[in-house]
C-alpha cells in the first residue's frame, strides 16, 4: 500500500504534511507543552494556599515566597508560550514552503490541456492565498490540541480533586458546547466552500482582464468588464457576510456556554460554603480556574475553526490540480543517442476531452534530415500534428516514432535533447536577452550529466545564432544605446574613444547631414535645454536631476538672465500641453511622447496650469516655479514640437554655456564632465559617444549605413563581441514588451537554434516576421538539409519550393503528400489552396 507521502500531491491529505514536518521540532514542542501545562495549574494551588493557609496564619514570609513562585510561574508560562509559538511558526511555514514547491512542480508538469481550462488567476490564488491557511493549521496541529487538552484535563482534574461535586457540575457545560458548536461550524464550512470558489473566479476574471488590457483599451470595453467584475464582487460580499456572521456565531455560542461557568460556581459554591461543606480558598481557586479553563477552551475552538477552514481550502486547491503528468521527466538511464532524426507517424488520432477529433488516422514518414512543410486550411490539424510530434500533446491513438522509438514513451529529457519546438506565439520571459537566449540550453543543462557534461554556449555560438536569425543588429543597437557605468568599464571607454576618432576620420563628412555633433558654439536641437546649458554631465549621484532645487544654480540662472525665460518656456510648454490633451487625459504614455510632461506628473501640473491663467509664472509658489523649470530643462526642440524655441532663449543658453564652465569650477560639490572630443561622456550612450553627437535621421537607408560603419569600426577595434555582450544584457521588460513582435519571434527562434536540435518543429514560427526576415530564416534552414529534420507548419505557400516534401491537411487528415512542385502542378488540394477554388 502506498503511504500518504508517496501519493501524488493532489491525493495527499492535509494531515500528511504534519507527519512529514521536522520530528525534532515537534518533540521539542511537546516537551515545552508539558512544562506549560504544569505552569498553568501551579498558580491555582498557590492561590488556594495563600487564601487558606498564609492569610489565616498571617505569615508574611510565606506570603512572599508564594507570591514569588506565582510570579515565576507567570513569567515562565509567557516564555514557554512564546517558544511554542515560535516553533509553531517555523513548522507551519516550512510545511507551507514544501507544499508550495511540490504543488508548483506538479502544476508545471500538468498537460497543456489543463491550462486551457484553468486560468493563471486560479493558479496564482491557490499558490499564494488559499494554501496559507494550511500553514497556520500545520503549525498548530500538534501544539494547540495537545497543550490545551492537557491543560483542560489538568485543571479539570485539579477541580474535581478540590471538590468533586462542584468540579463535575462546572465541567458539565463543556460537553454541551462540544455538541452545539460543530452544528454552527458546519454552516461556516458551507459558506467557506462558496467563498473559495467565488474568490478563485474573481482571481481568474481579474487575470484575464489584465492580460487582455490591450483589447479592453482598443475596444473601449471598460464598462462591460466592470459589470462582470462587479457581479462577482457583490456575490463575494454576500458570501463573506454570511461566512463571517457564522464564524462570530461560533464564538458567541462558545462564549455563552463558558460564561455560565462562574454563575454555577457562585451559586453552588456559595451554597456549599454556607453549608460548611467547602472552604473559601477552594471557591477562589474555582473562580480563578474558570478563567484558566476558558483560555485553553477558546484556543481549542479557534483551532477547530482553523482546521476546518484549512481543510476546506486545501481540498478545494487539490481538487483543482487533480491530474497526472503525461510524461516522465527523466528515466533510469541516460537517453539513447538519436542520430538519424527519422520521424514516422502511424494511424495517429487526437481526440479532445469533448470528443472532437482533431487528427484522424494520420500517416506520415519523414526521413532523417528531410524538410517537410505542413499546410492546410485553418483548423485542418497542422498545429495539432506538430504538437503531437513534439510531445506537447498526448495523442489518443496510433503512434509517433522517432528513430523507431515511440514519442509517447520518451522522457522529457530525451524529447528536449532531440527536438526543438518553436511555436507561433513566442513567449519571452522577464530578464535579459541573454537569459532568454540561453533558456533552452539552460533547461538541458539542468538534467543530470550521465555521460558527457553539456558544454555551455560560447559568446561566438550566441552571436552566430543572433546573426542567423537576423536579430544581431538589434542586439548591437541595444548595446550601443547603453550608458556605461561611471566607474566601471574604463578600459572599454578608452577603446570607444578610439572608435570615435576613426568614425570622425572615416565617416564624419558622410554623416554630417545626419548627426548633430556636439560643438561648443552650436545649439543642440536634439538635446535637452539643460544639456545645452551645461554641455556635459553632472557626475554627482543625482546627475542632472534636482538642479532646479539648488539655490546656487538658481542664482546662476538669475545672473545669466536665464531664470525668467526658462520659467516662461516651462509655462508655455505646460499650457500648450494642457490645451492639446485637455484635463481628463488618461495616463497613457503615447499621448505624452511629444511633451516634456510625464504621464504620472500630469495631474499635478494641471493645478499649476489652472493658476497660470491668472498669475504670471514668476509669482507662483516656489515649488510650482521649480516644476516649471524642470519642464523647461527637459525641453528638446526636435522632439517636443508643441512650442517653438525662442531665438533669445537659444542665444542666452549658448552664452550661459560659457559662463557655466567658469561657475561650476568655483562650486564645491559640483563635479562636471564636459563634452570633449578627447574624453568619454559618462552620461551618454556608447553610440552618442562614438558619434560625439546625436543621430538625427529616421531614414532606414541611413540607419543601415550607420550600422555597417559602426560594425566595421567595432570589428577594427575588436569591440564587436563586447558591444554584443552589453546588448545581450538588455532588459527585455515584462513578457518582452520592450521588444517588437518580430524581435520576440527572432529571439524565440534563436534560443531553439542555439541548442542545435536533431529535429526542428516550427509551428508558423516566422509568421510575425517581415518578408525579408522570413526569407533569411528559410535560407538558413535550407542549409541544414540532410543534417536536421525540419517539420514546419507554414502559411505562406511561396516558401514551399524550399521544402523536400509537403503534407497537405484537411479536416484532420493528410490528403496529399509529396514533392511540392509536383503537387502544385497537379490540380489537387494544394493547387486549390495556392490558387483558390475554381469558380
Amino acid at each position: 500500500m502506498i503511504s500518504d507521502q508517496e501519493k501524488p500531491i493532489y491525493q495527499r491529505s492535509l494531515y500528511s504534511w504534519v507527519l512529514t514536518s521536522k520530528w525534532y521540532l515537534q518533540l521539542a514542542m511537546i516537551a515545552l507543552i508539558a512544562g506549560l501545562v504544569f505552569l498553568r495549574v501551579l498558580p491555582l494551588e498557590i492561590q488556594k494556599r495563600i487564601v487558606n493557609d498564609v492569610l489565616a496564619l498571617g505569615n508574611a514570609m510565606q506570603l512572599l515566597i508564594y507570591c514569588l513562585i506565582y510570579l515565576l510561574a507567570v513569567v515562565f508560562t509567557s516564555a514557554l508560550k512564546l517558544a511554542v509559538n515560535g516553533l509553531q511558526t517555523v513548522v507551519g511555514q516550512r510545511a507551507l514552503t514544501d507544499m508550495r514547491k511540490e504543488l508548483y512542480q506538479h502544476i508545471l508538469r500538468l498537460p497543456l490541456s489543463f491550462f486551457r481550462k484553468t486560468t493563471p488567476g486560479t493558479v496564482v490564488a491557490c499558490l499564494v492565498t488559499e494554501l496559507s491557511a494550511s500553514a497556520t493549521f500545520i503549525g498548530e496541529a500538534i501544539a494547540v490540541p495537545l497543550s490545551n487538552i492537557l491543560t483542560l484535563l489538568a485543571i479539570g482534574g485539579y477541580l474535581i480533586w478540590l471538590n468533586p461535586l462542584l468540579g463535575v457540575v462546572t465541567l458539565s457545560i463543556y460537553p454541551i458546547a462540544l455538541f452545539v458548536v460543530p452544528l454552527v461550524q458546519s454552516k461556516v464550512n458551507t459558506s467557506n466552500k462558496s467563498r473559495v470558489d467565488v474568490s478563485n473566479r474573481m482571481a481568474s476574471l481579474v487575470t484575464e482582464t489584465v492580460s487582455g488590457i490591450n483589447e479592453v483599451h482598443a475596444q473601449g470595453s471598460f464598462q462591460s468588464e466592470e459589470r462582470k467584475y462587479n457581479v462577482i464582487v457583490e456575490r463575494l460580499f454576500k458570501i463573506r457576510i454570511v461566512w463571517t456572521l457564522y464564524r462570530y456565531a461560533v464564538k458567541v455560542t462558545n462564549n455563552l456556554f463558558v460564561g455560565l461557568g462562574p454563575v454555577i460556581v457562585l451559586l453552588l459554591g456559595g451554597y456549599l460554603i454556607m453549608q460548611g461543606k467547602t472552604e473559601l480558598g477552594s471557591i477562589v481557586a474555582f473562580l480563578s480556574a474558570q478563567e484558566k479553563l476558558y483560555d485553553p477552551w477558546k484556543e481549542l475552538i479557534g483551532f477547530y475553526d482553523t482546521q476546518q477552514d484549512a481543510s476546506i481550502r486545501y481540498q478545494k486547491v487539490m481538487q483543482i490540480f487533480e491530474g497526472q503528468s503525461e510524461f516522465n521527466l527523466i528515466g533510469d538511464q541516460a537517453p539513447p543517442e538519436r542520430a538519424q532524426g527519422r520521424v514516422e507517424v502511424k494511424d495517429l488520432d487526437f481526440v479532445t476531452a469533448n470528443g472532437i477529433k482533431l487528427l484522424d488516422q494520420v500517416n506520415l514518414s519523414i526521413e532523417g534530415g528531410e524538410h517537410v512543410a505542413l499546410v492546410g486550411y485553418s483548423g485542418s490539424g497542422k498545429s495539432t500534428l506538430a504538437k503531437c510530434i513534439g510531445q506537447l500533446y498526448s495523442y489518443t491513438g496510433g503512434e509517433v516514432l522517432v528513430d523507431g522509438y515511440s514519442v509517447a514513451g520518451m522522457t522529457k529529457e530525451e524529447v528536449v535533447k532531440t527536438i526543438g519546438f518553436i511555436s507561433q506565439d513566442p513567449f519571452i520571459f522577464s530578464g535579459t536577452i541573454n537569459d532568454n537566449l540561453l533558456y533552452a540550453c539552460d533547461a538541458i543543462a539542468d538534467y543530470p550529466d550521465r555521460d558527457t557534461p553539456a558544454t555551455p554556449a560560447s559568446i561566438d555560438d550566441k552571436i552566430a545564432v543572433l546573426q542567423q536569425t537576423g536579430i544581431f543588429v538589434d542586439v548591437l543597437r541595444f548595446g550601443l544605446n547603453t550608458v556605461l557605468d561611471h566607474d566601471r568599464d574604463r578600459e572599454l571607454q578608452k577603446k570607444f574613444l578610439k572608435v570615435r576618432e576613426n568614425f570622425q576620420a572615416n565617416f564624419g563628412d558622410e554623416f554630417m547631414e545626419h548627426v548633430e555633433f556636439y560643438r561648443q558654439d552650436s545649439y543642440l536641437y536634439h538635446s535637452t535645454v539643460i544639456e545645452n546649458l551645461i554641455f556635459g554631465s553632472i557626475l554627482n549621484r543625482q546627475g542632472l536631476d534636482y538642479l532646479e532645487e539648488q539655490p546656487q544654480f538658481l542664482a546662476f540662472l538669475d545672473a545669466n538672465n536665464l531664470h525668467v525665460p526658462l520659467l516662461e518656456t516651462g509655462a508655455e510648454l505646460l499650457l500648450q500641453t494642457v490645451d492639446i490633451l485637455g484635463t481628463d487625459m488618461p495616463e497613457d504614455r503615447i499621448f505624452f511622447e511629444q511633451t516634456p510632461v510625464l504621464p504620472d506628473e500630469y495631474e499635478g501640473y494641471l493645478e499649476i496650469a489652472a493658476q497660470l491663467h491668472g498669475t504670471p509664472p514668476l509669482e507662483l509658489k516656489t515649488a510650482d516655479r521649480r516644476l516649471l523649470l524642470k519642464l523647461a530643462f527637459r525641453y528638446i526642440p526636435a522632439l517636443h514640437k508643441i512650442i517653438d524655441l525662442q531665438p533669445l532663449l537659444e542665444k542666452l543658453l549658448l552664452n550661459g554655456r560659457k559662463q557655466f564652465k567658469v561657475w561650476s569650477s568655483e562650486q564645491m560639490g559640483v563635479a562636471v564632465s564636459f563634452y570633449s572630443d578627447t574624453e568619454y561622456i559618462q552620461s551618454q550612450s556608447i553610440l552618442n559617444n562614438i558619434f560625439y553627437g546625436n543621430l538625427t535621421s529616421d531614414s532606414p537607408k541611413v540607419e543601415d549605413r550607420v550600422n555597417q560603419c559602426i560594425i566595421q569600426l567595432l570589428i577594427e577595434e575588436d569591440l564587436l563581441e563586447a558591444v554584443a555582450a552589453i546588448g545581450m544584457d538588455f532588459d527585455v521588460g515584462n513578457k518582452g514588451d520592450k521588444l517588437s513582435g518580430g524581435q520576440q519571434q527572432k529571439l524565440s527562434i534563436a534560443r531553439v537554434l542555439l541548442k542545435k536540435p536533431l529535429i526542428l518543429i516550427m509551428d508558423e514560427a516566422t509568421s510575425a516576421l517581415d518578408n525579408s526576415s522570413q526569407t533569411r530564416i528559410q535560407k538558413l534552414i535550407e542549409q541544414w538539409k540532410g543534417s536536421c529534420t525540419v517539420i514546419s507548419v507554414i502559411h505562406r505557400l511561396d516558401l514551399l519550393p524550399s521544402f523536400d516534401k509537403v503534407a497537405v491537411m484537411k479536416s484532420g487528415k493528410i490528403v496529399e503528400f509529396g514533392d511540392p512542385r509536383q503537387l502544385l502542378a497537379e490540380e489537387g488540394v494544394l493547387h486549390e489552396l495556392a490558387h483558390g477554388r475554381k469558380r
Binding site: 547631414e513 548633430e516 492639446i580 508643441i642 512650442i643 517653438d644 537607408k701 517581415d770
Partner: protein, 177 residues
C-alpha cells in the same frame, strides 16, 4: 552653427505643430473633424525624413502607419515575378496608406522615396486611442473614406474608355464592397 539635417536654424527652432495641424486639416480623410480631435491627432504624429531609395512601406507587410507627404516625391509599385510595375506618384499634400489606421493591412504595394522627402506619420495605435477619446470622429472618417472611394471610382468611370468597361471586375465595383 551646427545644422546637420540641412534645415535652417529657424526650421529647427520652429515646433511645426501649427503647420502640421494645418497639413492634417487639408487631408480629405480628416475633413470636418472636431478641432480638439485634430489637435490631439497632430500631437501623435511624427515627422520623418527619407532619402532617395528609402522604402516607406513594403509589399506583403503590415507597417501599421499612414503618412502625409509634406515635401518630396515617392513612388508606389507592385512587384510580381521580380518585375516592378509602377502604380502612382505621391507628392506634397497626398495621404498614403489610410487603411492601416483601421486595422491590420498587409500592403499590396511598396512605396519608395524617389527623392529626399519629409512626411508626417500617424500610427495605428495612436489613431485608435484618439478615436476612443472622440468616438464621433470615427463616423466622420468612415464617411470621408466612403466618399473618397466613391469619388475615385467615379473618376475611373469618367476616364474609362471601352477597355475598362469590358473587364470591369478587374478595377471597378470597389465602392460596392
Amino acid at each position: 552653427m551646427n545644422l546637420p539635417t540641412g534645415e535652417s536654424a529657424e526650421q529647427q527652432r520652429a515646433s511645426g505643430f501649427k503647420q502640421d495641424l494645418e497639413h492634417l486639416r487639408q487631408v480629405p480623410l480628416f475633413q470636418n473633424l472636431e478641432y480638439e480631435c485634430l489637435k490631439l491627432l497632430t500631437m501623435l504624429t511624427r515627422k520623418i525624413e527619407l532619402i532617395e531609395g528609402d522604402q516607406l512601406m513594403v509589399q506583403g507587410e503590415d507597417d501599421g502607419n499612414a503618412y502625409l507627404v509634406t515635401t518630396g516625391k515617392l513612388e508606389s509599385f507592385h512587384t510580381r515575378d521580380a518585375t516592378r510595375y509602377h502604380i502612382q506618384w505621391y507628392e506634397a499634400g497626398q495621404f498614403v496608406g489610410s487603411f492601416a489606421l483601421l486595422g491590420t493591412s498587409i500592403r499590396l504595394f511598396t512605396v519608395e522615396a524617389v527623392e529626399k522627402s519629409t512626411l508626417l506619420r500617424i500610427n495605428r495605435i495612436g489613431f485608435q486611442k484618439v478615436m476612443q477619446k472622440f468616438p464621433d470622429a470615427m463616423m466622420r472618417i468612415g464617411a470621408n473614406l466612403a466618399d473618397e472611394v466613391s469619388g475615385w471610382e467615379q473618376d475611373q468611370l469618367n476616364r474609362a474608355d471601352g477597355g475598362i468597361l469590358e473587364r470591369p471586375e478587374l478595377v471597378l465595383g470597389i465602392s460596392l464592397l
